[in-house]
């Protein structure tokens, strides 16, 4: 009797896992099929174009520009976003919820709208662009690309870092301070190392988001062309057969960088294991 009830229990458990796995496979296929299809079509049907693209200097330049600009955007996001994330995680204050909502706004608004808003503010007659116009130009320049990427990608970093800081017990900081560490030291030596995985994952997400940005960038900076603009451009002027190899190349490069970073973040010290 007992055996049987144990068995049915086990079976119902298995069933749940089975259904979950099935559903998971479907969504996974949904992600994988378009990507693999695109890469495979290119590699099988027209590998020459891919090779030619890989040697095309302007393609390589645009991919490098994408990676570089996204890196700069992520760096700025780290410098300004991590401190904000810490304050949000540690302090309660009036209007905190509103600030947290504001941070998510760039995720929600259409990117063309974001681009127009940024152009208005960072343009050479804009609120920020005008006073800086003698030192730095945003329109059709690298700073413009970085600004657009930063705008759409920084929420990912801030949210992830905030989660990281929230996961660190404030008592650890208290103890560190009782042992003679200033708050700055306690944050640097205890909190940041413990939240570092979250921060790293946030930085990766933010970088990836920045690379993929097109709508906001193209409005403020059509030139110099980043990879996504170039892909769009090639599609418009020469069609799918010209744009796909660039897209595939960008995808491969990003996938490699992504896998590498993920591996690093997975190897990152896991404190719950020895």
């Amino acid at each position: 009797m007992l055996e049987r009830s144990k068995l049915t229990f086990k079976m119902s458990q298995e069933k749940t896992i089975l259904i979950f796995t099935l559903l998971g496979v479907i969504i996974l296929a949904f992600i994988v099929i378009p990507i693999v299809n695109m890469i495979a079509t290119q590699v099988i049907l027209d590998v020459d174009a891919l090779i030619k693209t890989a040697k095309d200097l302007s393609v390589l330049k645009s991919i490098w520009l994408s990676i570089y600009a996204a890196f700069l955007a992520t760096l700025i996001a780290l410098i300004f976003g991590v401190p904000l994330a810490y304050v949000l995680a540690r302090r309660d204050f009036w209007g905190k919820e509103s600030i947290e909502s504001i941070i998510d706004v760039p995720i929600v608004i259409p990117h063309t709208v974001a681009g127009i808003a940024l152009l208005t503010v960072f343009g050479s007659h804009g609120l920020i662009g005008y006073p800086l116009s003698n030192y730095i130009g945003f329109v059709d320049a690298l700073p413009g690309i970085v600004v657009a990427m930063l705008f759409v990608s920084v929420p990912f970093l801030i949210n992830s870092a905030r989660e990281g800081f929230e996961s660190v017990d404030p008592r650890l900081e208290n103890v560190a301070r009782s042992l003679g560490a200033s708050r700055w030291k306690a944050v640097c030596e205890i909190t940041i190392p413990l939240a570092s995985r979250h921060i790293l994952v946030g930085a990766i997400m933010s970088w990836a988001r920045a690379i993929s940005e097109f709508g906001a960038v193209v409005i403020i900076a059509y030139y110099p062309m980043i990879a996504s603009t170039l892909i769009y451009e090639r599609f418009l002027s020469e069609g799918l057969s010209a744009s796909r190899p660039v897209a595939v190349l960008l995808m491969i490069v990003c996938l490699l960088v992504f896998i590498l970073l993920r591996a690093i973040s997975a190897r990152w010290k896991r404190y719950d294991r020895d």
Partner: protein, 350 residues
Amino acid sequence: MIEIKGLSKNWRGFSLKNVNLRVEKGEYFIILGPTAAGKTLLLELIAGFCEPNEGGIWINDKNVTRMTPEKRGTGFVYQDYSLFPHLTVKENIEFGLKIKGMPKSRIEEKSKEIMDILGISHLSHRRPRTLSGGEQQRVAIARGIVIEPSVMLLDEPLNALDARTQIQLRGELKKIHREAKLTTIHVTHDQTEAMVLADRIGVMMNGEIVQTGSPEEIFHFPLNERVAEFVGVENIIEGMVTSNEEGVATIRIDDHIMEAISSAKVGDRVRVCLRPESITIAPSKTLSSARNSFSGMITQLVPLGATCRIEIDCGFPLISLVTKTSAEDLGLRVGKGVCASFKASSVHVF
């Protein structure tokens, strides 16, 4: 020496009201109180993790009320140990010394010494997550002590441990304190812990220090009924003083007469407190030095491991604690008639 004057603080539903406290140098002071009495908050105020709304704190005659925690030199041990999970045991212990900029060789020496004392040298390269609760607590204590703090603050340090480890670590805390003569404030809700460890005890309830005194004073002469109840005085009986001869008062409880050492005057309505472990049980009325002896019937018997809690109806209820062995020897069971007796000096009257 720690001195706290008129300290008040409201924080997330906890509040401290006008706390006044003085802990002498080298003293082991225990703050005893039920959960949510504000004990941890008091410790965090002393350590400087938050600022009081009113009042002040002096450590060794220096006003530290507005000082940042890192300048106060307190050693803090939380109930959950709060070890730095990304550092090894050794790195945890050396954290405070490194921050202070102590030379490397000196750090090595000191951390080795403290690890030897606490018997954790073999764990030095392990990470906190891999340690047992008792081991983690030893590391936490070592980490606090090694910086030679002006005061050691312990927040329910034994609470999360199993009974055996509790007893073991209790002994070690006592030993370390005796050797290092470290001023210690230890917060707990556990009476045994307080009784065993404390030089003095402060009873804290609802954010106030209600009574301070030696363990003897607290446990046998609680200031009022609330304290009495909390410190485990299970017998609190109302009566009236009918005579008082040279400090030996006769108290009438319904039809019964009880003697107690007290200065209460004739005609006073009083409460009589009696700790359950002060009551001895005999099968029948015996001759003893005990002035008070009452016959009654056992109405309830609850085994508590090594001891047994017995409720006796002597016309008024009495609760007694006897060892398991004597309960067996005496053949105690519900319904059996027994005689409960206790000394007049065990009775506390207020």
